[in-house]
Every structure is written in structure tokens, then in C-alpha cells.
């Protein structure tokens, strides 16, 4: 029996469809993501990868279909959904008057961590933002902002991580770090990950099941772990 099938389903997408006017972006898209599994959505530009992710996190409304997270219908305003799902997509905003480290501290405390200093420092070290810890977000470069966005996902507890092209604006070292970090979260902490990516090396490093979006039929394959083929 497939070992993945024994694990609980964290994300279930059933017959998802999204249209903008008459233009169908996604139709009949179904996918299960299990605990300790990473799924990479790949495909051409405009194939609907980001649309699927936006529908999952609630920044877009599906035209049809059902999205469930941990057995409950996904609602981005639901505190339980927000507690379980960490997202790094392009709509992230920052408080203009709070520094980098204050953002992470606030987020960790809001998620109930009593004394988050150690964790925050460790994450800052990992994303190489220690020198910028007192800087305000408006002064960060696009790459640094991306690292801060990723740090917000790692500084808090979560069951599902949704990433839209996380490799964007990261340098080669950053992509390498991200791959290892996601692999650790997946294998070590049992995190379910769904991401859209154009970076094969990242997909390979994470050991993600690849789902091609926009093909005649949605196909599934793995770059790193052939035994995980669906």
C-alpha cells in the first residue's frame, strides 16, 4: 500500500474551477496533499498555478469546486484556518512602522509563543536578515522582503504551507537554503506543502510530487522520489 495513503489528508481540492468572465483558467482540478508531503505545481505562465493557490488561501473565490483543509471547508477568515495554514504569496503587506524583527516577534506572539526571542533570532539568522533586523520594511530590497515573507511562515506553527514561486528574487544560496528548510519541515515536522514553482532544483531539493497544471490532463510525477508517484 502506498505509504502516503496512510497519512492524513491535510488539503483536499475537489473539482476546482475558476473563470474570469468567459475565460476558464482552471477546470476540474482535484488534488490531495497529505501530511509530510510536498506538491509542486508546475506549468507554463498563465496555466493557473497561482490561481489555484489563491483559491486555497482565499484571496480568490473559486467558480466551482470544494477546497478542504483538515476536513473543514477552507475559509480564510476562519481563525482555525489561519492558525493551520501559512502562506507566502504576492499579496503580503507589512506594517510600515515595524522593523523586521518586530514583525516576526509580533507574529510569533500572536500565534501563542510565550517567549519567541530564540526562535525569532534563529529564523532571522537563517534568512540572513540579522543586519536588517532593525530596518523598516520600506527600506528592504525585493529579495530581502521575500526573505522576510518566508520568515513569517517559519516563525509560527502550521499544518499546511502554501508558497507561490518562493524562489522569486532569491539568490542561488537562498534557493539552496529554502530547499533544505522545506525538506526539513516536510520530513521532520510532517508539514504539508503546496507550492507553485519554476525552479526544478528547488522542487528536487524539497522532494516534491510534481503536478503539471495546464496540460491536457493534469499529470503527476516526482523528480526526486519515484516511489511517491500518485
Amino acid at each position: 500500500m502506498d505509504p502516503m495513503a496512510r497519512r492524513s489528508t491535510v488539503l483536499r481540492i475537489s473539482n476546482l474551477a475558476k473563470k474570469y468572465g468567459d475565460n476558464t483558467i482552471v477546470s476540474h482540478f482535484s488534488l490531495d496533499v497529505h501530511e509530510g508531503e510536498a506538491v509542486a505545481l508546475t506549468g507554463r505562465n498563465g496555466s493557473g498555478k497561482s490561481t489555484i493557490l489563491r483559491c486555497i488561501v482565499g484571496s480568490d473565490k473559486p467558480t466551482d469546486g470544494l477546497i478542504e483543509v483538515l476536513g473543514e471547508k477552507a475559509r480564510d477568515t476562519d481563525p482555525v484556518f489561519r492558525r493551520n495554514v501559512a502562506t507566502v504569496i504576492d499579496d503580503l503587506d507589512f506594517f510600515p512602522d515595524l522593523s523586521v524583527v518586530e514583525h516576526l516577534d509580533l507574529l510569533a506572539r500572536a500565534h501563542g509563543l510565550e517567549d519567541p526571542d530564540e526562535l525569532v533570532d534563529a529564523i532571522l539568522e537563517e534568512v540572513q536578515l540579522v543586519p536588517q533586523s532593525g530596518q523598516l520594511p520600506g527600506t528592504l530590497s525585493s529579495g530581502q522582503r521575500r526573505r522576510l515573507a518566508l520568515a513569517t511562515a517559519f516563525v509560527r506553527p502550521k499544518k499546511l504551507l502554501v508558497l507561490d514561486e518562493p524562489e522569486q528574487r532569491l539568490d542561488v544560496e537562498g534557493i539552496d537554503w529554502l530547499g533544505k528548510r522545506l525538506r526539513h519541515e516536510k520530513d521532520g515536522n510532517g508539514l504539508a506543502i503546496i507550492m507553485a514553482s519554476h525552479e526544478p532544483s528547488l522542487v528536487e531539493a524539497v522532494g516534491a510530487r510534481v503536478v503539471r497544471v495546464g496540460a491536457t490532463e493534469t499529470t503527476s510525477q516526482s523528480l526526486a522520489e519515484p516511489e511517491q508517484l500518485a
Binding site: S8, D76, R82, I89, L92, D93, F94, L136, G138, G190
Partner: protein, 607 residues
């Protein structure tokens, strides 16, 4: 570069002088060598210098020709088509003239010392207000600015920056002076001052405002900001002092005894000082124009274009966002303050830290306390809660910055493990406490009947609280309302098709203040105001906008859910049991489930 220097350069180059604007570009092919080294040219040491020498005046004429050459309509045809606008301007001008004449007639009725002193101080108030505005705007924008396109195409070229920017400097300086003078003339005329006084205050305001603008431009040329900042602080303090004096004298709390003659003499003295400041600062600003960095010129231009975009959408909150973003970009770095608390308390503590870091908005709140007292003293009893609420709304907005950021995009709110309502409650705590303090401080103004009226203490004791609630709800609506949705169906208007939400943008915030205070204006029971406020608060805290399309969409979604539930019950399907997830640690130990009782058998992620 001076005009005489320009003339010398044109004479030296000879043929270029006769070149029409359109033919300025071929100047690059000129081969006549240039004698001597001109330090104005940063590329003087580059090989071939002189062959591509630029005549900035010709270049600007060329740019002007491109712009004007692409115009498809003449000014006459625009005026012909714009007869409605012209007609409106004539009507408004007639109304203004009529109002001034009426004010002049009514001035005879202003016989008390307090009234006449307050009237004399109005000129001072306009003067100080113009100074504050011009210095603040100069600090934020430049005052000399260049668009991104100009920064890329012109300012990188080997030309004298001063020649390109001179016209812009004069336009800014003279424009500011004219607008300030017009404003002063209008206000002083409307207060019923005599012709001499109006003239003196008009000239004084115009000249000094021009002087401050030139001063800011001179500082920009020196790449310095401190002098303008100090000036702004001093002028701001002066303006606040004048405002308080006007309120105090108008309310009859004390009298200064300033006569029209004294006031007019002071105004002419200010004219003299303003003229000196204007001339000196303008000369220095002109000389330093070449020194202004491209980044500073372009950042001001980009800010202006961003503000223009927000202004076209009537999105004043977005305009404020742009300014706030810019302010913190310039600040760049802060001393880190460690957070406190967990959950929503962490957000409340962060707001307290914000207040500690930036206490300046408290000054506005303190000034707002005076407003109800002044209104009551002037006998404006029925409108006092409404006007006080309106002022409070304006001064409480800076304390709602957290709510603004959490409302404008979903991305940040989604990071927090709370509902929108819980988030809004948390970030409303600090502004709410401040507003409560304001309400307590202003309650005597409504209860004591300072204007000689006989208030009913049983009712008016609630006026302060209701005015505070109205102000907070107005500010809450102002920061959290959605921007205009251009994808929604448009409404045909005389100004073309506009989205309905664009029109609501103009009154957002104000609508809440009116709703909550309306029963007080009508002398109804304060309980009605309280009920309206509670309903408004429930809607605003839930994050639901008052946007019609969104409400309809939410209604349709609820209907779909209901239909699905009915269909399921008809088909006899058992309702799905709620799945409870147990939290597991990395070392394999299982924690208690997130919800539900631990004793019941339920599916778990890890077993």
C-alpha cells in the same frame, strides 16, 4: 545658469542660435571646439566634449514643442466645450462676492471686544496655516521635483540641471505665493475686515509663503533638511498658539485688545520681512539648483504621481498611506522594542509601543479637547457634538494605522490566527481608550452650558461619549473602507461613467459621524445614537464593507450553501462529522486535540 551666461554661450556657438526648436537635436553633430574648461559640465573630460554640447533652453523648447505639438484641441475649443465649467465658475464667483458683501455688512454687528479681536486674528491664522502647509509640503515633496521620465531621460544627460529646473522653481515659488495670497484675501474679506487690512494680510501671506517656499528650495539645493524641520516645528507651534488664541478670544475666555490699525501695521511689517526672506532665499535657491540630486528630485516626482493616482480615485486613505510609507522609508531604521503578551494582547502591546515611539498624534488629540468648549462658548450647542466628533475622527486616524494595514490587503490579516473581528477589536483598544479619555475631558463642555444655554445634564452628560464613539467609528470606517471597484457596473454621470463606490469614497467616515450624531442634532434621545453606534460597530468590526456588490455576493454565497445543505438532507446523507486534529510534537508524543473532548474517538493526523 544666468541669462547672460546663456547669451554668451549662444553667441559663442553662433549657428545654434538660429536653429529652430525642432532642429535642436542635430546640435550633437556640431564640430566647433569649445575653448576653456567649464566646470558646469560634468563630462568635460570625456573625449569629444564640445561636439555634443547642449543648449538647455533649446532642449526645453524642444520638449515643450513635443508636448504642445501633440495637443489635439485648442484652448478655445476646450473653453467652448467647457461652458458648464465656465458657467459654474461665474456662479461660484458671484456667490463669493455676494458672501463677502454680506460679511462686510454683518461686520457692523461684531461690536464686542472678543468678537473683533478674534476677527483680527483670523488673518494671523491664515498666515500661519499657509506657512505650515507650505513647509510641510516642501519637506515631503521637494519642493523642486522631476518626473521619473525626466529623471531618466534628461537629468542623466550632460546638461546644466539648473537651466532645466529654473522654470519649475519659479512656478512653485510664485504659485505657492499666489494661492496663499488668494486664500488670505478670501478669508479676511469674508471675516468683514476693511480693504486696507485685507490688502495688507493678502500681501503678507503671499510674500511670506513665497519666502518659506524659496527657503525650503534653498535647503533642498544644499541637500539639507534640518533647517526646514526646525522651521516647521516653530511655525507649527506658532500656528497652534494662534488657533488657541482665536478660540479663547472668540469664546470670551480672555481679550487681547488688538485694534484693526495695530493689526494692519503688523501685517505690513510682516510684508517687509517676507519680501527680504523671499528675495534672499530665492537667490540662494536659484544658485543651488544644480546641486539637487537626481534621486531627491525624482522621489518627489514619483510621490506626486502616486498621490495624483490616489486623488483621481478619491482614495484619501491611500494618499495618506503613500505619505506614511514615504515617511518611514526616509526614517529607515528604528530602535527595536521587544513585544509583550500573547494572542491579541501582543497586538495591543504593539500599539502601545507605537504610541511610545511616535507620540506626536497625541498633540492633535489634546487640541481636539478644546473644540467642544469653544463651540459651546460660541453658542453652537446642537451642532457641537457633531463638529467635535468630526474633529476627533481626523485626529484619531493616526492611532488606527494597524487597522489600516490589516484592512487594505488580506495578506497580513491572514497571518494572524484570529478572525477579522478579533483583530479589529485588538487594534481598536488603544484608540478606544484615548477616545474615552477625550470623552471624559470634553463632557463638562456639554454639561455646563458655557454659551449661556440651559442644558439638560441628564441628556448632555452622554454627548461627549457619543461624540467620541461617532469619531472613532468614522475613523474606523475611513481606514477600513475598500477602494473604488472599477470592475463593478458603472453609473452614468455628467463627468462620465464612475463606479458607485467612488462617490461613497468622498463621504466615507463622515457618514458614520453623521449617522451617530444625527439624533443629537435633532434633539432626540441619546439612546438612539447609542443603538445606531452599536449596529455600525458590529458591521465595521466584522470586516464587512458597506459595498453593495460584496453584500450581494455574500448573500448569494449563503443561498448556495443553504441549497446544498437542503439537497444533502433531502438525499438522506448523514451530516459529515467534524474532523478533529491532534497536534503532534516532533518527538512523536501526541498532544491533546485542538478541539472537542479527548475521550471521544476521532480521526487524527498522527496515530
Amino acid at each position: 545658469m544666468s541669462r547672460s551666461k546663456n547669451k554668451r554661450r549662444r553667441t559663442r556657438r553662433g549657428p545654434a542660435q538660429q536653429t529652430p526648436p525642432q532642429a535642436a537635436a542635430p546640435a550633437a553633430e556640431m564640430t566647433e571646439p569649445v575653448a576653456g574648461f567649464d566646470p558646469d559640465y560634468p563630462f568635460a573630460d570625456v573625449d569629444g566634449y564640445g561636439r555634443g554640447e547642449v543648449d538647455e533652453r533649446q532642449l526645453m523648447l524642444l520638449v515643450k514643442d513635443w508636448r504642445k505639438g501633440r495637443a489635439t484641441r485648442s484652448i478655445l475649443s476646450i473653453l467652448t466645450d467647457g461652458y458648464v465649467a465656465v458657467f459654474s465658475i461665474v456662479i461660484i464667483a458671484a456667490m463669493v462676492v455676494s458672501a463677502i458683501r454680506s460679511a462686510q455688512n454683518q461686520a457692523a454687528g461684531c461690536t464686542t471686544e472678543g468678537c473683533s479681536t478674534a476677527r483680527e486674528l483670523i488673518g494671523w491664522l491664515v498666515l500661519a496655516a499657509c506657512w505650515v502647509i507650505v513647509l510641510a509640503a516642501s519637506r515631503v515633496f521637494g519642493p523642486v521635483i522631476a518626473s521619473a521620465a525626466e529623471g531618466f531621460w534628461l537629468l542623466d544627460a550632460p546638461l546644466r540641471r539648473s537651466a532645466v529646473l529654473a522654470r519649475r522653481l519659479w512656478m512653485m515659488v510664485v504659485g505657492a505665493g499666489l494661492v496663499a495670497a488668494a486664500l488670505s484675501a478670501l478669508v479676511t474679506a469674508l471675516t468683514g475686515l476693511g480693504g486696507d487690512s485685507v490688502l495688507a494680510w493678502t500681501v503678507a501671506t503671499g510674500l511670506t509663503t513665497t519666502g518659506w517656499m524659496s527657503f525650503a528650495a534653498a535647503q533642498q539645493g544644499a541637500e539639507k533638511d534640518r533647517a526646514v524641520r526646525v522651521a516647521q516645528l516653530l511655525v507649527g507651534s506658532f500656528a497652534v498658539a494662534i488657533l488657541l488664541t482665536v478660540i479663547a478670544t472668540a469664546s470670551g475666555w480672555f481679550a487681547l485688545g488688538i485694534t484693526t490699525m495695530v493689526s494692519t501695521r503688523i501685517a505690513w511689517a510682516i510684508c517687509g520681512v517676507g519680501l527680504v526672506l523671499c528675495v534672499l532665499a530665492s537667490v540662494v535657491a536659484r544658485r543651488r539648483l544644480s546641486n539637487i540630486g537626481r534621486a531627491r528630485l525624482v522621489s518627489g516626482g514619483e510621490l506626486v504621481s502616486g498621490m495624483q493616482g490616489a486623488a483621481f480615485a478619491l482614495d484619501f486613505a491611500l494618499m495618506r498611506d503613500i505619505l506614511i510609507e514615504r515617511r518611514y522609508q526616509l526614517k529607515g531604521h528604528v530602535a527595536v522594542i521587544r513585544g509583550r503578551g500573547r494572542g491579541t494582547r501582543a497586538l495591543i502591546w504593539r500599539d502601545i509601543h507605537r504610541l511610545r515611539r511616535n507620540p506626536i498624534p497625541l498633540v492633535g488629540l489634546a487640541i481636539a479637547v478644546i473644540v467642544p468648549y469653544a463651540l459651546s462658548s460660541l453658542g453652537i450647542v446642537s451642532f457641537a457634538p457633531f463638529l467635535s466628533s468630526l474633529v476627533l475622527m481626523v485626529v484619531i486616524v493616526p492611532f488606527l494605522d494597524s487597522m489600516r494595514v490589516l484592512s487594505r490587503t488580506k495578506g497580513l490579516a491572514r497571518l494572524f490566527p484570529m478572525s477579522d473581528a478579533e483583530l479589529r477589536d485588538a487594534v481598536l483598544v488603544v484608540p478606544g481608550v484615548l477616545a474615552l479619555g477625550w470623552a471624559i475631558a470634553v463632557t463638562p463642555a456639554f454639561v455646563l452650558g458655557l454659551g449661556g444655554s440651559q442644558p439638560d445634564p441628564g441628556r448632555t452628560v452622554w454627548y461627549g461619549v457619543i461624540a467620541a464613539v461617532g469619531g472613532v467609528l468614522g475613523a474606523m470606517r475611513w481606514v477600513s473602507a475598500k477602494s473604488a471597484d472599477y470592475s463593478a457596473p458603472m453609473v452614468a454621470t455628467g463627468a462620465g461613467a464612475v463606479p458607485p463606490s467612488l462617490m461613497f469614497n468622498m463621504v466615507r467616515g463622515l457618514d458614520m459621524v453623521v449617522l451617530v450624531n444625527f439624533p443629537l442634532v435633532m434633539n432626540w434621545s441619546p439612546i438612539i445614537s447609542a443603538v445606531i453606534a452599536i449596529v455600525a460597530w458590529v458591521i465595521l468590526r466584522s470586516g464587512a464593507s458597506l459595498n453593495q456588490e460584496e453584500l450581494l455576493e455574500a448573500q448569494a454565497e449563503s443561498r448556495r450553501e443553504l441549497e446544498k445543505a437542503r439537497a444533502e438532507s433531502r438525499s438522506g446523507r448523514a451530516p459529515r462529522t467534524k474532523q478533529v486534529i491532534s497536534r503532534s510534537t516532533s518527538n512523536g508524543r501526541t498532544r491533546p486535540p485542538l478541539t472537542g473532548s479527548a475521550g471521544r474517538s476521532r480521526p487524527r493526523l498522527r496515530t
